[in-house]
């Protein structure tokens, strides 16, 4: 009913505005006359009576305004009127509007983008329902320097059987499949998973079903679930894929399901049942770790409860009498939140970037506050006139709020575009390893966040306007000669503080960026222990059906390497597993002949690699003692091994290890191998810091044992070539050709230069550096705009004064100096504060910087210089305008 009368009154005022207005006019005039009549009757002279009547009734316009305000639809009409007025005012000052809107959009948009990404990464990894309930199960060996590695099947079995704590558990092992039915032989990535894998993540297939426990058996595991991407790319996204049989690694697999587009754990093309035989779960296998295990907590179990439980499980295992090796090596089982394992590396950079982006937002808000402040005080006269004409204070306040709201809404709308573009750009720019499987999209919660910021800015800016002009007294400001000196001085002071603050924030960001960039360039010069430049690598995987004996595998590698050796432009070629900087780094225990195991130490432990002689020469790993492998070191001849300098130092500190005998400790009755050479230690996963791969961490001083590829068997491995002056394309072509000649059906994949592999390991740092640089650039630009605006405005305000000075004889250069000096004082102040703040804050980046202290003076100096240079330009342009003030013009204006 009320709504109806509001609508009615509003529509009436809309369509019959002039008529109503005219009627009001008439009514008021008639009332004046009636009142005058009354007074005349009481004895007043007619003129006086009419004047008295008019005074009593008050101003006609004011009366009309009050009547209008009283009508029911009044506020709606007011709102529209203010909206129109606000838009018109903005239209008159497009520059101001554009700068304000863009500034707001940049600040809000950047924040929304970053927080969308954070949300995706840490709170809602795609394809997982209830990610807080999913944990990974990890193992560690404190005394072997292995802090966080995958687990064994018996480890997993213990978790799986703890039904009270975990509602489901599963493990996975990465594998690859050769798929030959496409145009060229393709290498599809895959994972063998136990039947509960998808349940742990709460993921449902979009087509078909996932695995049953019966299918997760050694010889029954020929079903496959496709990933959405693989389904679209290799099988045309056709619904009739269900039930079809495809050939993988020359074995038939029946397609039983397809997963949805977000589910990418792990980021593979397909999943097959793991199908482990019961022997794998034999307790003796407890130290053979090779599986990635996950579990889902029961609804009523907290993470700390589950963690404590697993700790107890660990303890119980350790106390078992047969667990000697575990005790000696400091073995333990523990759980970690799934998101932390997958994204843990990103915590610090994300924190740094969140801070940076909030700085940008603060600077943006500072600029807008300054702009609005300037705008409002510029309209003091206008507001005074309107107040004198009868606009009530609340009315004026409302109108200012509406103007701010229009700006804020426009800013929020544009910020949506900025945020969307920002999120997409982040997704593209982020290193693939970090964000594999992530769908980068704006999400509704973050959108809400943006809207909240928008609302907050309306309140803030409206509040500023309201505060400022609530001090306006119409009578005072309408007087001609009054200069709004005092109010503009306070305003200038506030703006100066704002700009100084922005400059300080900008300096912090610049300093951080400088530090990161210096650190990165330092990393470029770290010596990894071998020469990656000029080496091209590729991966192959020999299907078990075709290459079922070691002899066949050996033959393959020999043929390929022979072929490569004869190819033009190739200096050396080799093969082996693993390759540095590919994320694989297997390790194992070994025994030294003549050194029986002592009861409390876990025994010798090393990284373990299978290589051909060419591996060393192609990568240019230096030989320190003895010899490399030769082609004579093959199956049937004496078993040999080469160790690296770290292993030599660790286990043979005072003697020559060449001639010593070692053998694998895990394989019983493994033959002894004679150490024939010592090579230099090489960096294998990271250029600096603790080596880590696949989320495993180990100390970088661990030594390595190399065995001859032809004495160990390698169903999968890497080929590498070094070319004398050939291009990477030519080299990869040679590899492909060589493999093709030996086996036309074998796919060659992951073709990469060694350099790009190393650079990829720097991915997170480079990403963080580029992002920080973008934010620092934004901050710098916004601060410069703010400074420019401030100085410009100051010059405009003081045009009069400048004119007087020049007329009185001041030189133009003096004027320039005066303006510049004032601007630069501000800049210096801001830089000083910023430097202090940066010194306090950059220690947060410590873990990220290599070879550079967080207080590196060179970086700080560079940052300060860049900032001051930009600031000088920002001050100089308006200062030049001050120089060219014509005193006559200036004095004529108010």
């Amino acid at each position: 009913m009320r709504l109806f009368s509001i609508a009615k009154s509003f529509l009436r005022s809309l369509f019959r505005k002039q008529q109503i207005d005219a009627e009001l006019d008439d009514e008021i005039r008639s009332t004046v006359e009636l009142l005058a009549d009354q007074k005349i009757k009481e004895g007043m002279p007619p003129d006086e009576a009419r004047r008295a009547a008019r005074i009593e009734l008050g101003g006609v316009e004011q009366m009309k305004e009050r009547v209008r305000e009283a009508s029911a639809g009044a506020w709606l009409e007011m709102l529209l009127q203010d909206l129109r007025f606000g838009l018109r005012m903005l239209g008159k000052n497009p520059g101001f509007a554009a700068i304000a809107i863009l500034t707001l959009a940049l600040g809000i948009g950047a924040n929304t983008a970053i927080f969308s990404v954070i949300n995706a990464l840490f709170l809602h990894p795609p394809g997982v329902s209830g990610p807080a309930r999913v944990v990974t199960v990890r193992a560690r060996y404190d005394k072997l320097g292995l802090k966080n590695i995958v687990v064994s099947a018996p480890d997993f079995a213990q978790i799986r059987d703890s039904h009270a704590i975990f509602s489901s558990a599963a493990m996975a092992s990465n594998s690859g499949f050769n798929y030959t039915a496409a145009l060229y032989p393709q290498r599809l990535t895959g994972a063998g998973v136990t039947s509960q894998w998808f349940n742990v993540f709460g993921a449902k297939p979009v087509l078909g079903r996932d695995f049953t426990p019966e299918e997760d058996q050694p010889n029954a595991n020929h079903e496959v679930v496709l990933s959405y991407g693989a389904w679209q790319e290799w099988f045309g996204g056709r619904k009739n894929i269900l039930g079809r049989t495809i050939e993988l690694n020359e074995q038939p697999y029946r397609v039983i399901g397809v997963m949805g587009p977000e589910f990418r754990w792990p980021d593979v093309d397909l999943w097959v049942p793991l199908g482990l035989p019961p022997q794998s779960f034999d307790p003796a296998n407890i130290f053979n770790e090779s599986y990635f295990a996950v579990a889902r907590l029961r609804a009523n179990v907290s993470f700390s409860q589950a963690s404590a439980y697993v700790g107890l499980l660990s303890q119980r295992n350790i106390q078992a009498p047969s667990f000697a090796f575990g005790r000696r090596s400091g073995w333990g089982l523990f759980i970690m939140p799934f998101t932390q394992l997958v994204y843990g590396d990103l915590t610090t950079p994300i924190e740094v970037l969140s801070g940076a982006v909030v700085f940008v937002l603060l600077i943006a808000c500072g600029n807008i506050a300054g702009l609005l402040l300037a705008k409002v005080s510029g309209r003091t006269k206008e507001i005074a006139v309107r107040a004198a004409l009868g606009a009530s204070r609340p009315r004026l306040l409302f109108q200012m709020m509406v103007e701010s709201a229009v700006l804020a809404i426009a800013g929020v709308l544009v910020s949506l575009f900025v945020a969307y573009a920002g999120v997409k750009a982040l997704g593209l720019a982020a290193p693939h390893t970090l964000v594999a499987g992530l769908g980068f999209a704006l999400n509704s919660r973050v959108l809400l966040f943006a809207l909240l910021i928008g609302a907050f800015s309306v309140a803030l800016f409206g509040g500023i306007s309201a505060w400022h002009f609530s001090r306006i007294e119409p009578a005072h400001h309408l007087r001609e000669s009054v200069r709004t000196a005092t109010s503009s001085r306070t305003q200038q002071r506030i703006r100066s503080v704002l700009v100084a603050g922005e400059i300080a924030l900008g300096l912090v960001l610049l300093a951080g960026t400088a530090l990161l960039l210096r650190s990165l360039s330092g990393l470029d010069h770290v010596n990894p222990g071998f020469t990656p430049q000029g080496v091209v690598t590729a991966a192959v995987s020999l299907p078990a059906t075709q290459y079922d004996t070691q002899a066949k595998q050996d033959a393959f590698y020999r043929s390929v390497l022979d072929h490569l050796a004869q190819s033009p432009g190739i200096e050396s070629a080799g093969a082996g597993f693993p390759l540095p900087f590919t994320g694989n780094n297997p390790s194992a225990s070994f025994q030294i002949e003549g050194r029986p195991a002592t009861p409390d130490s876990p025994g010798p432990h090393s990284d373990i690699r299978y290589v051909t002689p060419g591996y060393f020469t192609t990568l240019r790993i230096p030989l320190l003692r003895g010899r490399f492998f030769t082609n004579e070191d093959r199956s049937g001849s004496q078993r040999v091994a080469v160790i690296d300098a770290n292993l030599a130092r660790q286990y043979w500190p005072d003697q020559n290890p060449v001639g010593e005998k070692i053998r694998s400790a895990s394989i019983s009755s493994a033959p002894w191998a004679t150490v024939v050479g010592v090579v230099g230690h090489i960096r294998f996963d990271q250029l600096t810091g603790a080596e880590a791969s696949n989320g495993s961490s180990q100390s970088s001083s661990k030594g390595a044992v190399y065995y001859s590829l032809f004495q160990g068997g390698a169903p999968y491995g890497y080929l590498m070539v070094r070319g004398a002056g050939s291009s990477a394309n030519a080299l990869s072509g040679s590899i492909r050709e060589a493999v093709n000649v030996v086996d036309t059906h074998l796919p060659v994949y992951d073709m990469k230069t060694m350099n790009s592999l190393i650079e990829a390991s720097l991915g997170p740092r480079q990403f963080a550096a580029s992002l920080l640089a973008v934010f620092a650039g934004l901050a710098l630009m916004l601060s410069a705009v703010g400074l420019y605006g401030l100085v410009s405005y100051g010059v405009a305000q003081r045009t009069n004064e400048i004119g007087i000075r020049i007329a009185l004889g001041a030189r133009r250069s003096d004027v320039l100096g005066m303006i510049l000096r004032q601007g630069l004082t501000l800049v210096i102040a801001g830089t000083a504060v910023g430097t202090a703040a940066a010194l306090a804050l950059t220690r947060a980046m410590k873990g990220f910087l290599y070879g550079v202290s967080p207080f590196d003076p060179f970086s700080f100096l560079t940052a300060a210089v860049v900032l001051i240079l930009v600031a000088i330009v920002a001050c100089y342009i308006p200062a030049r305008r001050a120089m060219s003030v014509d005193p006559m013009e200036a004095l004529r204006h108010e």
């Binding site: 009368s5 008439d26 008639s30 006359e33 009636l34 009547v67 009283a70």
Partner: protein, 110 residues
């Protein structure tokens, strides 16, 4: 001492206007004089409060207006109660009676 009605509840002014128009139609000035009359000088309604109230009540449908001629042959806008206005007058009168009774009792209580 005259009390400015807008210091009291807005509804009080509305009620006074309705009462003033109960017997005959009047123009704005006349309404103001009548209110002064029937309240024995306690309420002196300023035009600044009267006209907004009149227009609001007209919008609400309690009053209707026509242009007519005053005593001195001046044009003036005359207001009269509508049926809804009469109903509103009854309702408000009764409500006001209840309120004043309650307040009176409260003040007498110890």
């Amino acid at each position: 001492m005259a009390t400015e009605p807008t210091n009291l509840l807005q509804g009080t002014l509305d009620l006074m206007i309705l009462k003033a128009l109960a017997l005959q139609e009047m123009h704005g000035l006349g309404i103001s004089r009548r209110i002064e009359q029937i309240t024995k000088g306690t309420f002196q309604v300023k035009p600044g409060s009267l006209f907004p109230a009149l227009h609001k009540m007209e919008e609400a449908g309690w009053l209707s207006s026509t242009w007519g001629e005053s005593e001195n042959n001046r044009r003036a806008k005359y207001y009269r109660l509508t049926k809804a206005g009469r109903r509103q007058l009854e309702t408000e009168t009764e409500r006001w009676g209840r309120i004043s009774l309650a307040i009176g009792r409260a003040l007498e209580a110890s």
